[in-house]
């Protein structure tokens, strides 16, 4: 014992733990995934930014493109249009979603789960679809176009209605969460003080959900400003930033200007993202307080009112969907209203035919499988890894970034990056792989957050115990972490699958003649005037996504039943 090396005293640099083989393996893995994110996200964005500073010959021209952009009134006008759509949509959607969330959490009306399920439907369809339904309803030969009193559906009115449909579920989820964490004790206290319903609403309910409302507002704003599907289908001459990017790139082959508009579009999205992050941090503080869940009391008048409201919203959503189904089945609107499947003969149309549909399923499956593996492993390594602090910090940042990047911007960045002849990864261009990579990246953030939340809920001592038992980390990962996190893993894979089925924005720049996709086919058939087949393809996407959702539900139920014996502990 006497000859032991001496490290006493408070001098000298702090001791550092010797790395174990686990530490080294985990560092290697995290580096691999970090490199993936750099290649799939950081580098393309960087290349796009530098493109916006070049002319079409590739020479550096500084901010000349930006000058040109801001001196072209037609283009600058789109900024105003985009902001207008964003603000109006946000106001309407958040209001509608708040009342619906209130009905779902604070009333005793019947059928809550049905209404909630219906309200989630828009997630399962491409954002092009509501536009198509609106054309059938309010277009020049629309079924009920008198209701518009001579106003045009093509333009801001159509875009806003379509965006409200498209963004409603996103806002609803956030606000329901905010409402369900309310503390019953606050309400009891307020009631004890004889505050009336209205007073309680304004002094307890609203302040309690303010962060949720702000967060929902920013999510809706970002989605509606960056969405490309609705303005493309029903925007008419009303130009917005997203359609400008598309027109510059696809229509005019002016890639540099496309990059400039992309940079402009990054601003509102990035700003909304930053504010949302700040607000989220505050909301977490609210969440961690121990709350007693609120049980709503029956109130006949209020419950009837909420039920009526929920029915109206459900009719709106099911109506849009129903009209699309109608459009898909009608032989030749509005002249021959007999029904049939002629519009499903996709192979007779532009857009890639049935192949696109199967390509979409293939792409969505790859995205779900590889995306889940990458995302979950990445989140695990960031959460549990030792050392490499700066790299883990950078990883966190990169994982959050995709939320702020509109799909069109990402797609365009991929063109610049992967299509460059000098890029050794050029071989990926025009393949299925690049569609999968872009889609995983596009939807990385929400998946990453889901994984992180699940991992954080696990006892942080599992890894310590496993190390004391001299077990390698991957064994504990496979035998404990993955089984315990199975529900979250399923959630992530379904989320990725459904979004891969419905997304248009990133992939619209990246598909090739061999890898056409269903959602892009909807766009292209609509563009070519084949609106009915576009609706039919859109409904195919809906049925597929809905089918997968139902499968997911059954699977989760099965797993729940099988693991019930031990899940109790995790749930608490």
């Amino acid at each position: 014992m006497a000859g032991m090396p001496h490290r006493s005293g408070t001098h000298g640099s702090p001791l550092r733990r010797k790395s174990s083989s686990d530490d080294r393996a985990m560092r290697l893995f995290i580096l691999v995934i970090a490199v993936y994110l750099v290649i799939a996200l950081a580098l393309p964005l960087y290349v796009m930014f530098s493109k916006s500073l070049e002319n079409s010959q590739g020479a550096f021209v500084g901010f000349q493109n930006y000058l040109e952009y801001f001196n072209t009134p037609a283009l600058v006008y789109s900024i105003q249009n985009s902001l207008f759509i964003g603000v109006v949509t946000t106001t309407i959607t958040v209001t509608i979603a708040f009342i619906l969330a209130y009905a779902l959490t604070r009333s005793r009306m019947p059928g809550k789960s049905v209404f909630k399920t219906i309200a989630m439907i828009p997630i399962l369809v491409p954002s092009l679809l509501p536009g198509i339904a609106l054309i059938y309803l309010f277009g020049r030969q629309g079924l009920i176009n008198e209701l518009l009193f001579g106003y045009e559906i093509y333009g801001p009115i159509g875009i806003v209605i379509a965006e409200v449909f498209f963004t409603l579920p996103h806002a609803l989820i956030i606000i329901i969460t905010a409402l369900s964490i309310a503390d019953a004790r606050l309400y009891e206290a307020a009631t004890a003080l004889r505050a009336n319903r209205a007073r309680i609403f304004f002094t307890v309910t609203l302040p309690g959900v303010r962060y949720g409302l702000i967060s929902a507002a920013f999510v809706v704003f970002t989605l509606s400003v960056t969405d490309f599907g609705a303005p493309k289908v029903i925007g008419g001459d009303f130009n917005v930033l997203a359609t400008d990017i598309y027109k510059q790139v696809i229509g005019q082959q002016n890639f540099e200007m496309g990059a400039v508009v992309s940079m402009v579009l990054l601003l509102p999205a990035g700003l909304a993202f930053l504010v949302d992050r700040i607000v989220q941090k505050k909301q977490v503080a609210l969440l961690s307080a121990r709350a007693v869940p609120l049980e709503p009391l029956p109130n006949k008048r209020f419950d009837t009112l909420m039920l009526t409201y929920s029915i109206i919203i459900s009719i709106f959503i099911l109506g849009i969907l129903g009209v699309c189904q109608f459009a898909a089945l009608v032989k030749f609107f509005p002249y021959n209203l007999s029904l049939g499947f002629s519009n499903y003969q996709f192979d007779l149309m532009d857009g890639g035919g049935w192949d696109s549909y199967f390509n979409s399923i293939e792409m969505a499956s790859y995205t779900a499988v590889f995306g889940t593996i990458v995302v979950f492993a990445g989140a695990y390594l960031v959460e549990k890894g030792q050392g490499l602090g700066p790299i883990r910090g950078a990883f966190q940042f990169l994982a959050m970034l995709p939320m702020a990047i509109p799909g069109l911007v990402l797609g365009l960045a991929y063109i610049f990056f992967f299509n460059a002849p000098s890029n050794p990864l050029n071989f990926l261009y025009h393949t299925m792989a690049i569609l999968v990579i872009s889609t995983i990246t596009h939807f990385y953030t929400v998946s990453h957050l889901t994984a992180t939340t699940a991992l954080k809920q696990m006892d942080s001592q599992f890894e310590s115990v496993a190390a004391s038992l001299k077990q390698p980390f991957y064994r504990t990962f496979l035998r404990v972490t993955v089984p315990v996190c199975t529900p979250a893993i399923l959630d992530i894979s379904i989320y990725l699958f459904v979004n891969a089925m419905t997304t248009v924005s990133a992939v619209v720049f990246l598909y090739s003649p061999h890898t056409t996709l269903a959602s892009v086919a909807v766009l292209n058939m609509d563009d070519a005037g084949d609106i009915a087949p576009a609706a039919a393809m859109g409904m195919m996407i809906f049925y597929t996504a809905a089918g997968v959702k139902i499968l997911h539900y059954l699977l989760s139920r099965g797993i729940e039943a099988r693991t019930q014996a031990w899940r109790v502990a995790v749930a608490k």
């Binding site: 014992m1 032991m4 090396p5 001496h6 490290r7 006493s8 005293g9 408070t10 001098h11 000298g12 702090p14 001791l15 550092r16 733990r17 010797k18 790395s19 174990s20 686990d22 530490d23 006892d459 001592q461 599992f462 310590s464 115990v465 496993a466 190390a467 004391s468 038992l469 001299k470 077990q471 390698p472 064994r475 035998r479 404990v480 089984p483 315990v484 693991t563 014996a565 031990w566 899940r567 109790v568 502990a569 995790v570």
Partner: protein, 360 residues
């Protein structure tokens, strides 16, 4: 219990600017049961995690079984650990949890199941092998965690507040069981606790910590009977503190009363705190003014509190107006003879009182 098994030298742990452990040195002997005891936030867990290598110290060395393990990762050290949360793997049955550390050691299947059965018998859970942790009571989960930690026969067992999540009755029972198990296996054990009763009943030696330093190391008897500092005196058990002044060697002055006491290390005229436990104070009914004996001062009983095995009296001392608590049991006086407002003579036995310089 002769050989040093774990030797910690000059260990310091900083979290940024904050020093959680300051220059800790400590030896733990082979087969010994040591408790780290101290108030919340004093650094007990931090020290335990440093020993495990889970959160390495900023400075200082740790040697286990003669080998320097200061910077080794946990997987290269030799210890088993039980956390307050137990950290049982929820999706694995009790036997799989216990077998977790055995499986990859290329042991034969029947060898493993034999060892698991042996361990489950040891913690009295042989009939619960197929259940999942969530189906067990807190005390049973705790024992599974213990069996899992012991499965690989580690040289050192680390327990971080293993009993604090349990209710009082189970806790008292498990104290005995863990202590018994530890004695039988003779495994060197370190347990973190902030419950002094737990430490006093279970430990061979107690390490009393406060604000990142060690206040005292000693057997439960030493810690209880001769606290090395005012902090320890205050933290362990109940203690009366009275202001006093050193008069001369062997004597101090409690107001007008001269008290015989050990004054080594103290100087005449120094202000001190006189510490005495309630059970060491003698009371006897006596009118004030009557002749006082050695170490005796007059007082009046203000109130009496019935505490089951004994009665605790609050006594106001006439000279200073200060109050002390004294325990009345059949051992020193007939409690029934005492009622509130009784005038008493309060005796502080010289060998039971200790003086602490002010501000320690």
């Amino acid at each position: 219990m002769s050989e040093v098994f774990l030797k910690i030298e000059n260990l310091t742990k900083n979290f940024g600017q904050f020093t959680a452990l300051r220059d800790i040195s400590l030896e733990v002997f082979q087969g010994e049961f040591v408790c780290f005891l101290g108030p919340s936030g004093c650094g007990k867990t931090t020290l335990l995690r440093a020993i495990a290598g889970l959160d390495i110290q900023t400075q200082g060395s740790i040697a286990q079984a003669g080998a320097d393990i200061s910077v080794l990762p946990p997987a290269e050290r030799d210890f088993g650990i039980v956390f307050q949360s137990y950290a049982l793997f929820p999706n694995l049955s009790v036997e799989k949890n216990v077998a977790y550390g055995l499986e990859s050691r290329r042991a034969q299947r029947d060898e493993i199941s034999q060892r698991v059965a042996e361990l489950l018998a040891l913690v009295d859970l042989a009939d619960q092998a197929k259940k999942y942790p969530a189906q067990l009571s807190g005390g049973q989960q705790q024992r599974v965690a213990l069996a899992r930690a012991l499965a690989t026969s580690p040289g050192l067992l680390l327990l971080d507040e293993p009993l604090s999540a349990l209710d009082a009755k189970v806790r008292a029972h498990l104290r005995m069981e863990i202590k018994d198990l530890q004695r039988r296996l003779a495994v060197t054990t370190i347990m973190v606790t902030h419950d002094q009763e737990e430490a006093l009943t279970m430990a061979d030696r107690i390490v009393v910590m406060n604000h990142g330093i060690i206040e005292q190391i000693g057997t439960p008897q030493e810690i209880y009977a001769s606290p090395a500092s005012q902090f320890v005196a205050d933290f362990i058990g109940t203690m009366n503190f009275l202001s006093a002044k050193v008069a001369c060697s062997g004597k101090c002055l409690l107001d007008a009363t001269e008290i015989a006491v050990d004054t080594s290390d103290l100087e005449a005229g120094q202000q001190v705190q006189l510490a005495v436990r309630p059970e060491d104070i003698h009371l006897e009914a006596k009118e004030s003014g009557s002749a006082e004996e050695q170490n005796q001062t007059p007082g009046t009983i203000e109130s009496l509190e019935y505490l089951g095995a004994f009665v605790r009296a609050t006594v106001k001392l006439h000279q200073s107006g200060a109050t002390v608590q004294a325990d009345l049991s059949s051992g020193n006086i007939d409690p029934s003879a005492m009622v509130a407002q009784t005038a008493v003579a309060v005796t502080f036995p010289a060998d039971k009182i200790r003086l602490y310089p002010l501000g320690t």
